[in-house]
Each structure stands twice: as structure tokens, then as C-alpha cells.
Amino acid sequence: MTSMKIRSLQNPNSKKSLLEYIFRNKWLYIMLIPGITLLIIFKYIPMYGITIAFKDFNVVKGIWQSPWIGLENFKYLFRSRDFFIVLKNSILISLYRLLWGFPVPIILALLLNEVRHIYYKKAIQTILYLPHFISWVVIVGIVYNFLSPSTGIVNHIIKMFSGQPIAFLQKEEYFRSIIVITDIWKESGWGTIIYLAAITGIDQDLYEAAIIDGASRWQRVRYITLPGIMSTVVVLLILRAGSILKNGFEQIFLMYSPLVYDVADVFETYSYRVGLQEGRFSYATAVGMFQSVVGLILIWITNVFAKKYGEGGLW
């Protein structure tokens, strides 16, 4: 692709040229004004709040007046007996969700794309989105009803085959799978939207040419559709890398119990119990910051890899 020449700089080091450059592209910069203004106002002005992580925060004194404690919170975090378990859980659950959950919306989008019957396609699409709108409170209630060792249908079936009922939610070996499965179930349908949008951007002529050349349906998917949405996939993957240590608080909080803390306790639930609940605001902030720093590093790394493989990164 020929690279687009914005009326480019003649002499990059000249101030006059810089102003000229801005003037010639003035509309582009003007377009940026509303967004950047809002960004600065609503995201950067309050940004000083992250210093709470480095202070012994006292609500009454406020952020500025609360005393500095430097890296105390972080030192404590890394030294604490629970750090590795929480870190391990956070990474594992997040990775499982990535591994099993990331491809599902893509596959669903590809399948949906192959459906020619418009009403069937629309109906399926709408149904697939429904779980996204149902709150975790309700879903957890339903999961609970299904998996209950006393009244649940799954155990009912197990008993019919003369097995012993299993208290799935109480067992360490099942808990993570339940989290991952319910998360995929809830969000994959919604996740197809962006891929379907990307698919519409693919040049239809390519398909026609492929059919003429005798390509089968699966070959068309593999050689046209998939590469066509690859840039979207890559962008979403990079963004997802930023959440490597992040998991949904509500979902896990509603389903877990002390019996499964060792496999279920993630940073969000941990910081809720030992941070927010106990009024240790600054500690909770420090934990969140740790998650974000790691996430940022990972976004950067993933971005570098993406560029290397020619897909173009975020920036």
C-alpha cells in the first residue's frame, strides 16, 4: 500500500515548518480537540488519586494531606503469605478465559456469517446476546440451582446413574472450570458483534473469485474471512493482554466460599476482603495499581510482537 502522504514536513526541525504542518492539517487537529479535552478533564485531572497507593490514606485528611508511605503497600503485598496464591489464581483464571473464551466469539461469528437465511441469523444473534444482559446475581442463582448437591438437576442425573452427588461449587477441582464456562457462556454472544462488523468489511469480490476457482466453504473461511478479520482479532488480543491479571469481581465474589479460596481468590476479591472491607483503601488501590502496571507491560509486549508479525500494533 502506498503510504499516505499527509502534507508532510519539509524540514522537521524548523519551528516554522511545524506550525505550517499543523496549519495545513488543521482540521485533523481540530477534530481531536473535543476528545482530548474530555480525556484530560475526566481522566487526567483526577489521576492524582493513584497516589493513594503510596500514602496512608485518611478520608478526612484527604489525598494531599495524607502521609506518604512510599512503596510500603507494595512491599507488603509481595511479601504477604497470600500473594503467590492470589497471583496464581488471577493469572490462571484469566488465561483459561483467554484460551477457551477468546476464540469462541470468533468461531461463532464465522458460523453466523455462513448462515444465509436472514431471519434465522437475526434470531440466533439476538438470542446469543441475551446472557450478556442478565446480571451475575441472577446467573449465579441459576448456576446454584443447577449444581446444588441436594436439589440440582446435574446431581439428580448423577444419582440416577447411582453416583454420589458432587458439590461442584465447593470443590477446588471444579470451581475454576465453572467460572470459566459461565464467563464464556455469558459473554461470547456479545463478543461476536465486533467480529461480524469486521467481516462486513471484507471485499465480496474475493469470495466470488474464490467460488469461481472452486474453493470449498471451509477454504473460503480459512483463506478469506479469517485473514480479513485478523487485524481486528489482533487489536482485541492486544487490548485483552492488558487485563491479564484482571478478573470479574462480581462473578467470583458471588460464587466463591472459604472452601475454594485457594483456587478462586483473585486480586479483586482479595483486595475487597483485606482492603476495602477493612477500610484499607490505600492497600486496595496499590493492588489495583499492580494489576494495571503488569497489564500495561503486557500490552506493550504483545504490541511489539504484533508489529513484528506484520499485523500492525496499537501504536
Binding site: T2, M4, K5, I6, Y21, W27, L28, M31, L32, P34, G35, I36, L38, L39, F42, K43, Y44, P46, M47, Y48, G49, I63, L111, E114, K122, Q125, T126, I127, L128, L130, P131, F133, I134, V137, V138, I139, N145, W185, G189, I193, I194, L196, A197, A198, I199, T200, G201, I202, D203, Q204, D205, E208, S231, V235, G242, S292, L296, I299, L314, W315
Partner: protein, 301 residues
């Protein structure tokens, strides 16, 4: 520019088999997704004892619309609906426009200052100040207890901007080149060429933004004092969760919860339906923007 219709494909035998496969798989998956929704509807229109008898039902028991009557009898239901509709419409409008305006310049490969801005966007996606500085900001802007406090902070979403920017970069530059040669300004190019070609991504982002505003409740918790400015989600969360929060606060002292305060499960489910249905109606309207074929042939002009 020529926009061709896609050639009608004739199904061959192998295509038919894979068709059936695809349709069946989708049907199976869809029925899994459908189940809780049917459960919620069924319980919300049944009476409480039917629910107790069989909580996992998908067929309603004894029909009793009392749950819906209870939800709609709240004096705040109309105002909260109105508030949510207002912030959703205004918010989506403003946010989508700003997102487009911000994403387009960033999609230009060699724009000076682009990486600084990208860095700003990504950094703000990962770090934020927290509820107390946010509160101070809204207060100093004089936006406390206004609907604008619920709209403005979420207008900028780095995530959405990045997605839109990505889509814009996939539009062939030759189109813009051609227009530029004809003397078009950047604004003209954006509105007359880029936007019409980007309806799928704009529809997608609009949907995301719309749903985001519709579901918003936490900013209402922080910034709204006047009950008549509560949002729908806030009101309904109150109805659903207040009983549980009271339980936690009671500290084992059970008598302290007036037993009437525990809304029946049916009411909780009815509240859910009341929130979901309107937003579900939005998507079908946007579906027509997910149309293939807009792009192709455009280059051949």
C-alpha cells in the same frame, strides 16, 4: 464507484451438509443461551409459591403479574426510565461523534503527535484516580446532582476509540487520495466518505456505548442526591439488592430487617425484565447497518 450485488451462490451437496451442521450447532448453542432468559420471564409472571415449588421452571406457574405491578408502582419508576433514556440518547450521540472525531486523525499513519495521544489513551485505560478525585472533579465542575455528571465522564472510551481507529485504517487510502486530489478538506473526507463506509463499526460502537449508558448506575450512586434523578439500573438494583445489603449490615441481628423488605424472587426477576427489554429492542434497528457489500467495488471506481 460501482456497488455490485453479491453473486447468488448455489448450494452444492457438501455445502448442504455443512449448512445443516452449522445451523444445528448454532441452534444448540442458542438454546443454552436462551434458557435463563426463559426462566426469568417465567418466574416474573408467576406467583411466589410457583417459584418456590420449582425455581428452575421455564413454563410459568400460576400467572400473577403482581411482581410487575410492584415494580411499576414505585413512584420513581417513571422518572428513572426517563433519566436513563435521556442519558442514553444524549450520551450515545455525543460519545459516538466524539469517538469518530478522535479516531479518524489517529488513523492517519504519519500524523505528528499521534503516538503521544495514543499513549495518553492507553495509559488512561489502565489507570484511574478513583472515586474520591472523581467526586471532587464533578463537584468543582458544578455538575453534582445533574444528569451531565452521568453523561460526560464516559464520553471518552479509549477502548472504543482504538477499535474505531483500527477500522478506519482498513479503509483503502486510495479513496482519500482521490478525494484529496479533487480538493476535498479533511472534514469533508471524514463525513462524506469515511463515515458512510464505516457504518458497521459505527453501529457496533453505538451499540456498546448505548448499552453502557443504559446500564450505568455507579456514577449515579456517587453524584446524584435527588432521588428523582436516579437511573433505572440504580432503582432496580436497590429493589433487588437492598435486602441482601441489609442482611450483611444486620450483623446477625435478624430482627432488624422488616421482613417485608425482602422482595420476592419474582419481583427481582421482573425488575430484570424491565431493564433488559428496551435495550434488546435497540439491536434489531442497528442490524441493518451490518450489511455486506458496501465496500466492494468502491475501490474500482
Amino acid at each position: 464507484m460501482v456497488i455490485k450485488q453479491s453473486v447468488k451462490r448455489h448450494p452444492s451437496n457438501s455445502s448442504l451438509l455443512s449448512d445443516i451442521l452449522i445451523y444445528t450447532i448454532l441452534a444448540l448453542i442458542a438454546s443454552c443461551m436462551l434458557y435463563p432468559f426463559l426462566n426469568v420471564i417465567a418466574v416474573s409472571i408467576s406467583d411466589y409459591s410457583s417459584y418456590l415449588e420449582n425455581p428452575t421452571r421455564i413454563l410459568p406457574g400460576k400467572i400473577n403479574l403482581g411482581a410487575f405491578k410492584y415494580v411499576f408502582s414505585s413512584s420513581l419508576i417513571l422518572s428513572s426510565y426517563r433519566n436513563t433514556i435521556i442519558i442514553t440518547i444524549l450520551g450515545t450521540l455525543i460519545s459516538v461523534i466524539v469517538t469518530i472525531l478522535t479516531a479518524y486523525p489517529l488513523s492517519k499513519k504519519s500524523l505528528k503527535g499521534k503516538s503521544i495521544i495514543m499513549n495518553l489513551l492507553i495509559f488512561s485505560m489502565m489507570f484511574s484516580g478513583g472515586i474520591i478525585p472523581d467526586f471532587y472533579l464533578i463537584r468543582s465542575l458544578g455538575l453534582l446532582d445533574t444528569l451531565w455528571a452521568l453523561i460526560l465522564p464516559s464520553v471518552i472510551s479509549s477502548y472504543n476509540i482504538i477499535l474505531m481507529k483500527n477500522f478506519f485504517t482498513s479503509i483503502p487510502e486510495s479513496l482519500e487520495e482521490a478525494a484529496r486530489i479533487d480538493g476535498a478538506s479533511d472534514i469533508y473526507i471524514l463525513w462524506k466518505i469515511i463515515v458512510p463506509l464505516s457504518t458497521p463499526i459505527i453501529a457496533t460502537i453505538s451499540l456498546f456505548v448505548c448499552v453502557g449508558y443504559w446500564n450505568s448506575y455507579f456514577s449515579a450512586v456517587l453524584y446524584i442526591r435527588d432521588q428523582r434523578k436516579w437511573t433505572l439500573q440504580l432503582l432496580l438494583r436497590e429493589i433487588i439488592l437492598s435486602a441482601n445489603t441489609q442482611l450483611l449490615n444486620a450483623g446477625g441481628n435478624f430482627a432488624e430487617l422488616s421482613s417485608n423488605n425482602n422482595p420476592l424472587q419474582t419481583v427481582k426477576y421482573a425488575s430484570l425484565i424491565v431493564v433488559i427489554l428496551p435495550i434488546l429492542c435497540v439491536y434489531p434497528f442497528l442490524q441493518k447497518y451490518f450489511v455486506k457489500g458496501i465496500m466492494m467495488g468502491a475501490v474500482k471506481g
